[in-house]
């Protein structure tokens, strides 16, 4: 990630501010920055979304494809994540530079989504043991401006909400062979329920206190942070500690509590905004990539 060089005085200023629950940009410790969200930005995907938070710019596309179900879960579909860190985001990503970071993101996404509660994968099954939908979630990191994990998870959620999977009718003939028939109406499709899908909330420990949605400068002051996969129902689906510093159990508990509280609110707001956007219908003004 981009290097931010801080002087000792700046560092002290940030830490002291956080102690008083007021951050360099005027937020409180549990506030997120302003975000811009647009869905349905890539027309040839099944669903897509783009989120911009400060300088972080994430584009997510979901592609639904038919495949054979995994043998240990014959009646379920799958969701697979792939993250691509564009070299545009930061010069560090050039060549294979972004690979490690990309794997890190996709791992935590997989972990956060890998539970029975968040996505109903049984819905994605077409014919048990034979055909199921696989949702390939492709994440593009277009620009890196801090708090990438959180933004990626929001964009994934938004893209899943935007996903339309064509409806399929299954005909079985006398010999037990099956035939899939696709409806010719492009509006005849099903949705993915994102009501219970997790978002990632990164809680960064700075001094003795912690903040969410750390800015680049704050990230430079932070030695340890906790990434939590949290649903709107406050269920923690994944947790990961990152950074060179250590955390004592008490502060982990505190950070989790904060994460849950913020996560619940952020999820709820995101869902509400997605609904509002959808109500605008097909005639909404599109910003796209030029706006």
């Amino acid at each position: 990630m981009a290097e931010v060089l801080l002087s000792e005085a700046e560092r002290t200023f940030i830490v002291h501010g956080i102690q008083d629950n007021i951050r360099a940009d005027g937020r409180s410790c549990e506030d997120y920055r302003h975000m811009e969200l647009e869905t349905d930005v890539v027309s040839n995907t099944s669903g897509s979304a783009r989120i911009r938070l400060a300088n972080t710019d994430i584009l997510v596309g979901v592609k639904a494809e038919l495949a054979i179900p995994a043998s240990d879960r014959p009646d379920e579909g799958r969701i697979e994540f792939f993250v691509d860190c564009s070299a545009n985001a930061t010069p560090k990503f050039e060549g294979r530079g972004g690979e490690e970071f990309a794997t890190e993101i996709s791992n935590i996404l997989s972990r956060a989504y890998d539970n029975q509660g968040s996505l109903n994968l049984k819905d994605l099954c077409v014919i048990p043991k034979q055909q199921c939908w696989v949702l390939y979630v492709d994440v593009m990191v277009l620009e890196c401006g801090g708090n990438v994990f959180d933004v990626v998870s929001f964009a994934v959620k938004a893209a899943l909400h935007n996903t339309r999977i064509p409806n399929i009718t299954v005909h079985a003939d006398d010999n037990g062979r099956t035939e899939l028939e696709l409806s010719d109406d492009p509006y005849d499709c099903k949705r993915v329920d994102v009501h219970k899908t997790p978002s990632i909330v990164t809680v960064s420990k700075i001094g003795h206190f912690h903040v969410v949605d750390a800015s680049m400068e704050e990230e430079a002051c932070c030695l340890a942070r906790l990434m939590l996969g949290i649903t709107e129902q406050s269920t923690v689906t994944a947790i990961k500690k990152e950074g060179s510093g250590s955390l004592d159990p008490e502060s982990i508990y505190d950070m989790m509590e904060t994460g849950k509280r913020v996560g619940q609110a952020v999820n709820a707001t995101l869902y509400q905004k997605l609904q509002e956007e959808e109500k605008l219908g097909p005639n909404k003004r599109k910003a796209g990539f030029l706006g």
Binding site: A64, E65, N175, E181, D184, D185, P186
Partner: protein, 938 residues
């Protein structure tokens, strides 16, 4: 303005793909009307004041059509009175999607200036583009787009716009939107000036029509058929109705090893399939399997409702021990292959009725019910009719009248019928084709003579049938100093004039072959080429493609050379003239020597060929003597064969084989060759059986064995027996076919009839397109011409072969039909007793061949009323009556006449004269020849 069209589709692999197409809208698409001064348009198509009087809409108006109208009522749109029609892009695209022929027809109309048909690209116009809405089917969206465009026009122009649609829902919705909409029949009825249009209305009735009980089982929907075919429950095949029995048909199944031909019997099982359709069939259980009946059944004139069950019973009764064939029933139609049919109206019992039955010329097509008010004028005319539908409750398919060709029996009309029925392209050559012709006067240029071998010093001559104007081959032969003989075959260099990719080339490729009718020739290339520049006329310098051999005295090939050349023929001879020159001992000039040499070598070549197993087959061929004034035939003769015929033939074969070897060596993947597959042994069964009945054994193991046993098969008391056997053997053969060498293994190349390993057609480029291609291949391989991409493309050649094979077959059929037509004209004024021979014995008829006229026909043994005096022995296929037995090959005398009981439908009738059967045979009208003399003098 950009929109995107999004749809999902399933790929062949089974995955689902979302496709996004960008769609741009414009604001500068003009409306095409001359009255409009808003649109910036050049050359508006729609007239300022369209004149079409309609009772419904008296002011000037333009017509907008629905997709269904274009799909089904094309005959109406093609009428010259219908003008100023706006064809929307939505409609055009839907038509293209649904029916290629309809699309081609509408595109043709759009190019006609006088019709004032305008295509409005409404899908790209910013005001008329509509997006599909949730829950709306593609069809509904298109209907909405059509209404949208109509209302846009209505607002845009002062002229009234009439929407013509057969879709009731669409019409209602249009009315609600304040548009003027009529159904086609409403609109056409309102055109008071042209009542004849009513006849051209296609009768569309949905399957749900009321009234009348269903006479046929329902057809399955396409999706169910496809599933059934996948699972193997149903089979797909092309439906081929029987010529002799309208209640019987065969389906040749695609892609099944077990059953290649499935029999269908009975109208219920045939289930409204029409000859040529692609159908889905289901096999019946083995206990219900049947065998083709040997009955000859035609739909009779006055068929009553109850009639059919009886006939079907006849079909069913008497299931004998003959091995049964796989039998099935039609469950659905995959693709209709209806075309326009020629035929006549069946006289109606009720004079004023508008409903009539139409009898097609093609025997394999059912009668068609049509509605017309011009029955009186159409009586005695050949007309063209189109099938529209065949609802379940109708015995006959429903159709509509398209146009009249002319009076029945009129030769021009009958020729037209013949050409239409055999799908022979016979329109005059278009301007673009004619503009490819070289300018006259044509001369051989310096350039040409530099690159060609000058053979003008050789004594070349051509030998052809009398009256031939398209001479495409010439020959020469001379002794060489070393004792060997040089022989040259010179073929007209058509590929010099027909360059690849030009309009003339495309037209020739489409026509494929010149079609010879008795009194007419339909050329493959314009006459300037066929009868002048390419024809190797005597005493004129012509471009040729020459094959030059060095042969030993024993007619063994020592060397062969191919070259483009310039020749000058010394003489154009007929077969008879050439024969005279050879026989005339006093002539010792170069031509006579050359001909004698050729004749001697040809005999040697023929002997070699026969030794290696070539077959000599026979088919009755006749020549008509045509009256120079009335153009009616006044005499018929079998064609005479002279030595010179076979002389020319031998050298043409030799040239073809040499060329085939050369082009195959040079182009192993894309040479155009001709093969004649060996018939499967089962094909020979009927003639082996027939020969056995005369106590003769035929060996059919190889071509050679067959040739030998055919030579040995002679009957002392029946001199015609051998020829008949050869005629029958010909019918056991497979069709010879053009093919592309890359598509088949080399072992399959062989020509069975000629007993050669490889063969092609090289010697008649004026009248066969295959030869033009072979010329090009050969020219490339000797470096005389440049290649072009299509020439070496396997797939293209393959597709071309397919068309050529089809055209050749059709040309053959058309030729035969022309002979039939002239035979009928010949007998118009004659009743003659003739010698005939039985070719087949049927259950209720004898199939008789009259060698003198090459005429075949049925002697029916049963009448509508009378029972046959004969009993049929199916085992030995013999008809017995008392002590008279008639079997295959037996000699009979028959009376030939024209049945004139039905003025519209005259047909040739054969009646038995000898052997005499009291109460059945007709009395002899004197010895055949004497009778004819009398007729001629009268």
């Amino acid at each position: 303005m950009q929109r995107s069209k999004i749809f999902v589709k399933k790929t062949k692999k089974g995955s689902v793909l979302k496709v996004v197409r960008e769609h741009y809208l414009r604001d500068d698409i003009w409306c095409g009307s001359k009255t409009c001064d808003v649109c910036l348009q050049q050359a508006a198509i729609l007239e300022e004041s369209p004149e079409l009087e309609s009772n419904l809409c008296r002011q000037p108006h333009y017509i907008v059509t629905d997709t269904n109208v274009v799909l089904h009522q094309m005959d109406i749109l093609e009428v010259p009175v219908i003008k100023n029609v706006i064809i929307l892009q939505t409609v055009l695209e839907e038509v293209r999607h649904r029916s290629a022929p309809a699309y081609k027809r509408i595109k043709d109309i759009l190019t006609i200036r006088d019709k004032h048909f305008y295509t409005f690209t409404n899908e790209h116009h910013k005001d008329t583009y509509v997006e599909r809405q949730p829950g709306e089917s593609a069809n509904d969206r298109n209907d909405r787009a059509i209404r949208m465009a109509t209302s846009w026009y209505q607002e845009h122009l002062d002229i009234k716009i009439v929407l013509v649609t057969d879709d009731m829902e669409n019409k209602e919705k249009a009315k609600k939107d304040g548009l003027t909409a009529y159904t086609v029949s409403e609109y056409v009825k309102s055109l008071s000036d042209s009542p004849e249009l009513m006849d051209k209305l296609a009768l569309r009735t949905s399957d749900k029509t009321t009234g009348g009980k269903a006479k046929f089982p329902e057809h399955l929907p396409l999706s169910e058929i496809q599933r059934g075919i996948k699972s193997g429950n149903y089979m797909q095949g092309s439906f081929q109705a029987s010529r002799d029995n309208y209640l019987e048909a065969n389906v040749s199944v695609h892609g099944s090893e077990k059953f290649d031909m499935v029999l269908i019997q009975g109208s219920h099982n045939l289930n409204r399939a029409v000859h040529g359709d692609v159908v889905a069939i289901q096999l019946l259980s083995e206990s219900e399997w049947s065998c083709p009946s040997s009955l000859v059944l035609t739909e009779t004139e006055k068929e009553e409702e109850e009639d059919t069950p009886n006939k079907e019973n006849i079909l069913k009764e008497k299931k004998s021990q003959v091995p049964k064939q796989p039998t099935g029933k039609v469950v659905g139609i995959i693709k209709r292959n209806w075309r326009q049919y020629c035929g006549i109206l069946q006289p109606s019992l009720i004079k004023e009725s508008t409903k009539h039955l139409f009898i097609p010329t093609e025997r394999r097509i059912h009668k068609i019910r049509i509605e017309t008010r011009q029955a009186k004028t159409l009586e005695g005319q050949r007309i063209i009719v189109c099938i529209d539908s065949w609802p379940r409750n109708s015995r006959y398919p429903l159709g509509h009248f398209v146009r009249a060709l002319g009076a029945v029996g009129d030769k021009a009309t009958e020729n037209e019928v013949l050409l239409l029925e055999h799908d022979v392209p016979h329109t005059p050559f278009s301007q673009s084709v004619l503009s490819c012709l070289p300018e006259m006067p044509w001369r051989i240029t310096e350039e040409d003579s530099k690159r060609r071998m000058d053979l003008r010093h050789l004594d070349i001559c051509s030998v052809d049938p009398p009256g031939c104007t398209d001479i495409d081959d010439a020959l020469h032969c001379r002794e060489m100093d070393d004792g060997n003989i040089e022989v040259g075959v010179h073929i007209a260099d058509v590929s010099h004039f027909i360059r690849p990719g030009t309009a003339i080339d495309k037209e020739a490729a489409k026509r494929g072959t010149t079609v010879y009718l008795i009194d007419k020739r339909i050329d493959m290339v314009p006459e300037l080429l066929s009868s002048n520049l390419c024809s190797l006329r005597c005493k004129e310098d012509r471009l040729a493609f020459s094959v030059l051999w060095v042969l030993s005295q024993e007619a063994k090939i020592i060397d062969v050379k191919f070259t483009k050349s310039i020749i000058c023929s010394r003489a154009s001879l007929t077969y008879a003239e050439a024969q005279l020159i050879i026989d005339d001992k006093n002539r010792t000039d170069a031509i006579a020597k050359s001909l004698r040499g050729l004749n001697r070598l040809a005999k040697l070549l023929k002997k070699q060929r026969i030794e290696s197993g070539a077959l000599t087959l026979a088919s009755p061929e006749v020549r008509f003597h045509i009256d120079s004034e009335t153009h009616d035939p006044i005499d018929v003769q079998s064609k005479e064969l002279r030595d010179t015929n076979s002389m020319v033939e031998e050298f043409m074969l030799l040239a073809n084989i040499s060329v085939a070897e050369e082009i195959f060596r040079e182009f192993p993947n894309c040479a155009m060759l001709r093969r004649h597959p060996e018939p499967p042994p089962s094909n020979f069964e009927p003639i082996i059986k027939a020969a056995q009945s005369k106590g003769l054994q035929l060996n059919v193991d190889t071509g050679k064995d067959l040739a030998v046993s055919l030579n040995d098969a002679q009957l002392a008391d029946n001199p015609y027996f051998n020829t008949m056997l050869r005629i029958l053997t010909t019918r056991c053969m497979m069709q010879a076919l053009y093919f592309c060498s890359g598509m088949l293994p080399e072992a399959d190349f062989k020509h069975y009839g000629l007993a050669t390993r490889i063969y092609t057609h090289f010697t008649s480029p004026i009248r066969r397109y295959s030869d033009v291609i072979v010329h090009r291949l050969l020219a490339v391989s000797i470096g005389a011409d440049a290649s072009y991409p299509e020439l070496t493309e396997k797939k293209k050649t393959h597709a071309l072969c397919f068309n050529l094979n089809f055209r050749h077959r059709m040309a053959q059929y058309a030729g035969r039909a022309s002979v039939g037509l002239h035979t009928q004209l010949f007998f118009k004024t004659r009743v003659i007793d003739e010698d005939g021979y039985v070719l087949f014995v049927r259950k209720n008829a004898l199939h008789v061949l009259i060698p003198k006229y090459g005429l075949e026909g049925m002697v029916f043994l049963t009448d509508e009323k009378k029972r046959s005096p004969f009993t049929y022995d199916e085992q030995e296929s013999i008809q017995r009556c008392g002590d008279v037995e008639i079997g295959v090959f037996d000699h009979v005398v028959v009376q030939v006449s024209i049945d004139r009981s039905n003025v519209q439908h005259q047909k040739l009738v054969l009646r038995l004269v000898q052997p005499e059967i009291p109460g059945f045979s007709v009395p002899s009208s004197g010895p055949p020849s004497a009778k004819k003399m009398k007729m001629d003098t009268s």
